[in-house]
Subunit: 352 residues, 2 copies
Amino acid sequence: MRTKFFVVFFVSMTALLGGTAAFAGLQIQHWVTDNGARVYFVPAPELPMIDLRVTFDAGAARDGADSGVALLTNALLSEGAGGLDAHQISERFESVGARFSNSAHRDMAVIGLRSLSDKQYLIPALETLTAIINQPEFPKEAFKRERSRMLIGLQQRKQSPGALADEAFYKAVYDAHPYASQPSGREETVKALSPEKLRAFYQQYYVGRNTVIAIVGDLDRSAAEALAERIIGKLPAGKPAAELPAVKDLTEAVEINIEHPSMQTHILLGMAGMKRGDPDYFPLYVGNHILGGSGLVARLSEEIREKRGLTYSAYSYFRPMRKKGPYTLGAQTRNASAGETLAVMRETLATF
Amino acid sequence: MRTKFFVVFFVSMTALLGGTAAFAGLQIQHWVTDNGARVYFVPAPELPMIDLRVTFDAGAARDGADSGVALLTNALLSEGAGGLDAHQISERFESVGARFSNSAHRDMAVIGLRSLSDKQYLIPALETLTAIINQPEFPKEAFKRERSRMLIGLQQRKQSPGALADEAFYKAVYDAHPYASQPSGREETVKALSPEKLRAFYQQYYVGRNTVIAIVGDLDRSAAEALAERIIGKLPAGKPAAELPAVKDLTEAVEINIEHPSMQTHILLGMAGMKRGDPDYFPLYVGNHILGGSGLVARLSEEIREKRGLTYSAYSYFRPMRKKGPYTLGAQTRNASAGETLAVMRETLATF
């Protein structure tokens, strides 16, 4: 799957930027639908399949006071739509060999479909997808179940030093910026969610002008236009989500220690990094690959793991987002080695 | 996907039992290859796809002193085989739209493939699969990476009260039986693994007479026979894995408390349950569905969550295995409510 998904990923990422879609060797066609959705299309007739990715600017950065609402809204889409229950939805996709997925992140909510391109399989798959996108029902029973699941997840996060470190890291780097809030929500806000709140969130953000579709597969331009029209053409145009504030760069280094009854210490080090479409993407990618992005052979791992045996793993990565996403260096070590590990991480970074 | 996978699952499960394959409305064809592999086949021409599941009696119950060897051996299969590296393997599957998966559990190691049935896609997918099954190389670099990953996983388990409870539960229920050991291994045994040990494990257990294949999809009997021959026909017949000892029933109730610095208490309650093919499977399934298997509407959840607000979730399930798998009741609650929750679980079970 790797190659194909990379392509889909890249297309939709570029799309979200509204940037120029120049990618060596790949001809990306682009248009805007009547209701304002941006479509990116790459014909790929080698396989009798079509991959779709519909992204909405409806990630957790849009949660506002209802922390967790973006995740739960997206999760509920396929739990009941257009008169079909969750079981019928999954059976309908299965009966035509289609693979459906959905997820929400800080920066976007995503709906994905892989289907055979032959019309006898594709059309029923698209019918089901259209119901999910246009007529989600947020049924009460499924809402209660999924909210319970989120609340259990929050309980588990409290016990996980890795999750707590992650939360503190985002707060430290992003401060009052919407990226600082946890997509999984907080106990009190998740408890206060309701099907009505989900519906309101859906109505505001799942609209044409807030939508980007990437289509890659065995179809021609006119079929791709019809497909886009079919699945999102009936959404109201709505309004694009408000521009997110710029991320402020950190002015000074801050060190935060959180006590946790655990034998291991999680260390995260970082700052706001790059946004999607950064012209330095490739040099930064290669640089990070050498510093900490290539696993066992990267410098961080070499210094911390191979030379000093302080940890099983040390890594670093960029997470490009609409605004500057984090650049993170991380390691996990025995409590007694935490100071030394952090010192080596800083030293390795400083001398890079 | 749900329906199809259920079918594949059921077929291979029944197969592992060597039991009769009577399943209302589903005609399962069965034969044994020259090298002793058992094949189960269901033609399903509705979709131009083929689903395969190859299971080896090579789960963690076969680890012996090398705890963790089954998991790591299985994980390395697709990391290098027949002259292809991991990247080439994943590209080859991707280029023909095939989906490959592998995993190992207490009871079995599994290799799965979903491919288009058209020969131009199927044959290259089967070539790659054949290399993985017949010529895995256990390359040193990938071995080191995957072993590191397992060791990190073990560190994380130590911090997870849920994982610790799970481990203690299996020890209490299974005592000296191979099912008592953790598939993810122990730190000292995982550190002592080597590509040579993996190869030896592979040579002993990935053999014809230790193999069951389930094939469901758009092909006829003779094509299914050719397919089975192609992917496992060249494996040596070898020996079937030794019979596992019977699971001793518990003679008295035991209560084990593990102190952990955590705000939540995990409670697991259970005993050896049923093995695959148990004639009482359906009555037991339905009974458990009412007691704790149906989520929010089951009695356990009703008593513990709805009536008393002690937890977000309480559940129960059977996990049928080759020998009696566990029957487990579980809940997670605040430390202060642990005693009451356990009492309600026992009461609900006793009055069921």
